[in-house]
């Protein structure tokens, strides 16, 4: 499945500045593996040994994957996976 991944600004150093990248995979986990292959270091920024890091949210077409099947959430052609990390600043 060909999906589009929205990359937040803190992670664009891994994508050469791109705010969106294409990726393949039938599940969120597969997409993350594909991202890691093309943008090394991405997986570590998104996941730890327990799964998706607690301060990172992944949205499959605007739905939080924690309320779907988490890393096993299925994706289809044309879907969008959005990465939403905790952003601290504001002062």
């Amino acid at each position: 499945m060909a999906v589009t991944v929205r990359i937040p600004t803190p992670l664009r150093t891994l994508t050469g500045g791109a705010d969106e990248v294409p990726a393949d995979g039938g599940t969120v986990a597969e997409v993350i593996e594909h991202l890691e292959a093309n943008h090394p270091g991405m997986k570590d920024r998104l996941c730890d040994e327990k799964g998706v890091r607690r301060f990172v949210n992944l949205y499959a077409n605007d739905e939080d994957i924690r309320f779907l099947d988490n890393l096993e959430t299925t994706l289809k052609d044309g879907d969008t996976l959005s990465i939403v990390p905790a952003i601290a600043g504001g002062r």
Binding site: P8, T9, P10, D19, R45, R53, R54, F55, N57, Y59, D62, D64, R66, F67, S82, V84, P85, A86, I87, A88, G89, G90, R91
Partner: protein, 235 residues
């Protein structure tokens, strides 16, 4: 619409500058501003409450003066210091809403926890570089811990480290003010999460749902021990 409403504003920086300007021009009765910082020259591009002549002076004092000039007679109380566990609930006690514009996630979680315990609606935001988020939580709705679960101890950039573009905090602060106005008008924006990306030119809304294992929503968090927030509250 806002008669008798009192807002606690945590932080007097980039996000809070538009928030305070807009609240001062609303019919809200009062704001209390909490901050411990001095105006620095590097703040001026995004912290629009301040001018060159304010550099080196107390932010809360200059914010109070700016609001008085903007809206004479507007009720402002300033509290010099950080929003910390020991004073959080006391500060929230006589306010009907808290609007948070702090620069670290520990304070953001402290505001979320304290507001939930106190039963006060919380409007929160975060911004770094070209993007950020704004979120609204009401008692009984999804909270910041439903969104980000717990305080990250690493890998999270702040404005001080990465910088932030002025219009980003301008837009997100205005969104926070809009949340506040909607709440004070009796509307229910609970759980709304707005994402703004200035580089993409995109503003997007999603909804945060309550997590069944959220310790704050489940009532497991009922106090504010300093240790829970120590790392970054001191940053």
């Amino acid at each position: 619409m806002s008669v008798g409403q009192r807002a606690l504003v945590v932080g007097a920086g980039g996000l809070s500058s538009p928030v305070l300007r807009l609240l001062a021009k609303s019919s809200i009765e009062h704001v209390t501003i909490v901050d411990d910082d001095l105006v620095d020259e590097s703040n001026l591009h995004r912290q629009t409450l301040y001018e060159d002549a304010d550099v080196g002076r107390s932010k809360i004092d200059r914010a109070e003066a700016a609001l008085e000039a903007l809206s004479p007679g507007f009720s402002v109380r300033t509290v010099e210091g950080r929003f910390v566990p020991g004073t959080a609930l006391g500060l929230l006690a006589d306010h009907t809403i808290v609007v948070e514009g702090a620069d670290n996630l520990a304070t953001k979680f402290l505001v979320a926890d304290a507001a939930h315990i106190a039963g006060v609606p919380a409007v929160q935001a975060g911004a770094v570089r070209w993007a950020g988020w704004a979120f609204c939580a009401l008692p009984g709705s999804a909270c910041l811990r439903c969104l980000f679960e717990d305080i990250p101890r690493d890998r999270v950039e702040t404005c001080a480290e990465a910088g932030v573009v002025g219009p980003v905090v301008g837009v997100l602060g205005a969104l926070q003010a809009a949340f506040a106005f909607r709440l004070l008008q009796g509307e229910d924006p609970a759980g709304e999460l707005w994402h703004y990306d200035a580089l993409r030119g995109g503003l997007r809304k999603t909804f945060v749902r309550q997590r069944s294992d959220c310790p704050l929503c489940n009532g497991e968090i009922q106090d504010l021990p300093v240790e829970r927030y120590t790392a970054a509250c001191a940053a």
